[in-house]
Subunit: 223 residues, 2 copies
C-alpha cells in the first residue's frame, strides 16, 4: 500500500494539512463576510457555508489522526502562505466575499482533485468527498447576478476582483511548490507512481484557467 | 394544546427568535475570536464552538418553521438589541472572547431555562436541548486559568470584563422586556398558565447572579 512508503505518506499528510488549513481559513473568511451581509437571510446562509467548511475541516483532521499524524502540526507549515493569501484577498464587502467563496473554493477544488488523481484510492476518496458540497453555487450566483442588475458598475468591480483572486492564488501556489519538497515530489511521481511532466503541468494550468473562466461567466462577470 | 392559543404561540416564536438570533450572534463572535487566537489549536477549538452554535441555530430555525413561522422574520425584532450588546461587549482579545462565551452563554442558558419552565412541554424540550453542549467549559476554564498563572494582571482585567458582561446583559434584557410585550406576557402567565410575580422575578435574578458568581469563580476570577 502506497501509504506504507514514509516519503509518500509524509507528502499526503502535507497535502491534507494544506487542504485542512484552507478549510479553516475559508471558515474564518466566510464567518467574517457573514458579519457584513446586509440581510439577515444572507448572513445565515454565509454562516451555514462557513460551518460546512468547518465540517470538512473536522473530517480531514480525523483522517490525518487515523494516519497517525497531528493535524495541527501538519497545518502549521501552511499558516503563513494561506494567511498571506487571505490578507491580500480580504474582501471589502460581502459581494467580494461571495466571489471569493465561489471562485476561490472552485479553483482550490479543481486543483486538489487534479492532484488526487495521482494518489492512493483511500486518500483520493477523502479528498474528493471533502470537495463536495462547499460550492453553494446557486445562492452565490443568484446574489451576485442580482447585485449586477441593480448596479452594473458592481460587475466591473467584481470582475477585477475575480482576476486578482486568480493571480494571488497562482502566486501562493508557486510559493507552496517552491517550499514544500514533499508536495512537489507527489506531482513529479515516483518509480512506481505516475507523475506529471512539464507538458502535463501546463495542461493542468490550462484546465484550471478554463474552469475559472466558466465560473466567472456563470457569475455574469468578464473573466 | 397551548400552542393553539395564537397569543401564546406568538410569544413562543418571539422567544425562539431571540434565542436563535443569540446563537447566530454567538457564532459570529466566536468565529471572530478564533481569528485572534494565537495558537492554531485554540483557533480550531473556537471555530468548533462557533460551528456548534450554528448547529443550534439551524435546529431552532427548523423548529420555528415547523410551527409555521419564518425564522428570519422572528429574529428581525432582536437584531438591534443583540447587535447593541455585541458592539458594547466586542472583545479586544481572545481571552475576553473566551470569558464572554463562558459567562455570557452560561447566563443566557440559565435565563432561557428559567423561562422554559413556564412553557409547553414541546417548546421546553427544544429550548433545553438547544442549551446543551454550548459551554465547552473545560477548554475555556483551562485556557483562562493558564493565562492568569502566566500573568496575574490578566485576572484583574478579565474579572472587570465579566462584571461588565453581566451589566450589559441586564441592560439589554430590560430593553427586550420593555419592547416585547408578548415575551413579557409569557413570564406574567395567563388564566390557565402559571406566571411569575415580582417576588418570583426577584428570586430569578438572585439565582442568575449566584450562578454567574460560580462561573466567575470557576474561571479563577473575582466575581
Amino acid at each position: 500500500m502506497a501509504l506504507q512508503d514514509p516519503v509518500y505518506k509524509e507528502a499526503v499528510i502535507d497535502l491534507l494539512g494544506a487542504i485542512a488549513y484552507g478549510e479553516i481559513s475559508a471558515f474564518q473568511r466566510l464567518a467574517q463576510d457573514a458579519g457584513t451581509a446586509p440581510e439577515l437571510r444572507d448572513k445565515a446562509e454565509l454562516a451555514r457555508m462557513a460551518s460546512r467548511e468547518l465540517g470538512n475541516f473536522e473530517r480531514l483532521c480525523d483522517h490525518m489522526e487515523s494516519l497517525g499524524a497531528d493535524p495541527i502540526v501538519a497545518m502549521e507549515s501552511f499558516v503563513e502562505v494561506f494567511d498571506a493569501f487571505h490578507v491580500r484577498t480580504a474582501s471589502s464587502d460581502w459581494l467580494e466575499g461571495l466571489v471569493t467563496a465561489y471562485v476561490g473554493d472552485g479553483l482550490a477544488a479543481d486543483f486538489y482533485s487534479e492532484i488526487a488523481a495521482f494518489l492512493d484510492a483511500d486518500t483520493q476518496r477523502v479528498i474528493i468527498e471533502n470537495l463536495r458540497d462547499t460550492g453553494n453555487a446557486e445562492f452565490v450566483v443568484g446574489r451576485v447576478r442580482a447585485a449586477i442588475v441593480k448596479d452594473h458598475r458592481v460587475g466591473g468591480r467584481l470582475a477585477l476582483w475575480g482576476r486578482r483572486l486568480m493571480g494571488e492564488a497562482l502566486t501562493q501556489a508557486q510559493r507552496v511548490a517552491a517550499e514544500r519538497d514533499a508536495l512537489t515530489a507527489l506531482l513529479a511521481g515516483g518509480v512506481d507512481r505516475p507523475g506529471m511532466d512539464l507538458a502535463a503541468i501546463s495542461r493542468l494550468f490550462t484546465r484550471l484557467t478554463e474552469n475559472h473562466t466558466k465560473r466567472m461567466e456563470s457569475l455574469g462577470l468578464a473573466p
